[in-house]
Amino acid sequence: MTASQSRRPGLTERLLDVHNLKVHFQVSDRTIRAVDGVDFHVRPAECVGIVGESGSGKSTLVRAVSRLMPNLRINELSGDLRFEGRHILEMSERDLRALRRSHGFSMIFQDPLGYLNPTHRVGRQIAEALSPQGKGRPDGQRVHSLLQEVGFSDPKSVAHSFPHELSGGMRQRVMIAIALASDPKLLFADEPTTALDATVQLQVLQTLYRIHKERNMAVVIITHDLGVVAELCDRVYVMQTGKVVETADTVDLFERPKHSYSARLIELSAHRVDFRSAAP
């Protein structure tokens, strides 16, 4: 694969560099500071985790960076955002499309049903992602091997299904296959495995990790599952109310959290409270 050869990770190099990102929404007469002055970066071939409060701006952050915010009432979107040195906020739609089409960034979303076309078979949607301009014949072999890569043992029947015929977990794996089709340098994954059972989750994460290593593909993963972050990520950002409250290497974060909120998340994940009713 030529693309991965050109991706020698440099130590100080930054694939994605975000400085002072602000995303403020307008809801009637109120301003919502969803992301409020965030610094964030990703090195080539690095795996970065984002954890934090529900509503703290995690999804908004990655949507802003990948410029996927259509028709929203935004009253401020500012900051210095660069992908391979190029200013993301100033890119033309055309350049953005080119980046999404090949060797740029891809995204896996929190709710797959909203992003799959309900009227097209899954195989066709993956084939479209493989050759988005409709050039060339859809390559059934590559569709099947992508489906196998994300853990389907019967790619043929999955390719022939419509999204509503698949379970929640199966749809999420289809989304991952679509995201991998463009051979991205950076993959954003917004809670990619919350809909999966533990065995499939492990299998998908092992796959993601293998592809991340083999293709030297950087990964940014948002999750509420600290077990996923602990085992997958090199570095972690912890967010609370639109701000990054802590960033650290994974081992440091888990063993020596500095911010009280990080410490609370780790404590609650390690020691579950017992809420069962007393009497059987």
Partner: protein, 333 residues
């Protein structure tokens, strides 16, 4: 033991879809002969394989799907034979929280409209008190300050905030049972703990029961009175102690695959190659569904479909020919 409130008897759901050739119909046995009793006020967790029929089971309990075979009964009456009035009572007493919160909320209604619509339809609060009531409901699910959220449309909320609106909508009606499909997965552990606390208080004050479907085994362990494990359309194990002493080989596999918050763990980074030696026994129709992945399979597994059997002395049932041996091996001699 508390009385049963809902029960499933030999319930199956078969979906028909166009086959891969495009012309022949194919059938998916999403749920395949499930018997299950849900007792008043209990919290039953349903965990298991992706695609094993958990959501399909929930849809049948909610009367969104009719079972292809078998019966669902509510306090002894078959759902099929409920009259119009009883049906609407049932719909109030059994509330739902769906897997995909974004699609279960009306995108054209604000939070206030969604919640007041439900409140008004069921007359749960006097008009004059509605404003205060709605704010209390939002505060209870951790959306503070509540005024901030009332005017928003679903797309103006984060995933976890949408899920909490769906939870608020369900508990508002003080139902007898809440059927919740992945209600916690889009929440951080801190909000999760708050919601679990809220559910356990509700249980004490209103004796509401829960059927909670989830992949979060840690959260289920902390709230479930009983847990059913599903695999390929069947319940393969059900009991109170499945997390501490799993018996069925699938339950063990599932629990083993959990990721713990340990940064030095290497399950993902350098996975140990699976030790499961695939059985030489070939899959035949009629045998155990877990055969191909089971390290304990024996001759009989290929021929006979194991049924749920009660383990001695315990409230655990397991569908495995080797359940007795496997559970004996668990208890230190």
């Amino acid at each position: 033991m508390k009385p049963q409130i809902l029960s499933l008897e030999g319930v199956s759901q078969i979906y028909a879809s166009r086959g891969s050739k495009g012309w022949r119909r194919e059938y998916v046995h999403a749920v395949d002969g499930v018997d299950l009793d849900i007792r008043e006020g209990e919290t039953l967790a349903i965990v298991g394989e992706s695609g094993s029929g958990k959501s399909t089971l929930a849809k049948m309990l909610l009367m969104l799907n009719n079972p292809t075979k078998g019966n669902v009964t509510y306090r002894g009456t078959r759902l099929k034979s409920l009259g119009a009035v009883e049906r609407s009572q049932y719909r109030r007493q059994v509330q739902a929280v769906f897997q995909d919160p974004a699609s279960s909320l009306n995108p054209r209604m604000t939070v206030e409209q969604t919640l007041s619509h439900v409140a008004n339809r069921h007359n749960i609060v006097a008009k004059a008190d509605l404003g205060r009531f709605l704010k209390e409901q939002l505060a209870a699910v951790g959306l503070n300050p509540p005024e901030q959220y009332l005017g928003r449309y679903p797309h103006q909320l984060s995933g976890g905030q949408q899920q909490r609106i769906a939870i608020a909508r369900a508990i508002m009606l003080k139902p007898k049972i809440i059927i919740a499909d992945e209600p916690l997965s889009s929440l951080d552990v801190s909000v999760q703990a708050q919601i679990l606390q809220l559910l356990s208080e509700l249980r004490k004050t209103t004796n509401v029961g829960f059927v909670i479907i989830s992949h979060d085994l840690g959260a289920m362990q902390s709230i479930a009175d009983r847990t059913a494990v599903m695999y390929k359309g069947r319940v393969v194990e059900i009991g109170r102690a499945i997390y501490q002493s799993p018996v069925h080989p699938y339950t063990r596999l599932l629990l083993d695959a959990r990721l713990l918050p340990n940064p030095r763990g290497n399950r993902i980074r350098s996975p140990v190659p699976k030790q499961v030696t695939p059985t030489a026994l070939s899959a035949s129709t009629g045998g155990c569904r877990f055969l191909q992945r089971c390290p304990y399979a024996i001759e009989v597994c290929a021929a006979v479909d194991p049924q749920l059997q009660t383990m001695d002395g315990e409230a655990t049932q397991v569908a495995c020919h080797r359940a007795k041996e496997l559970s004996a091996a668990l208890t230190p001699a």
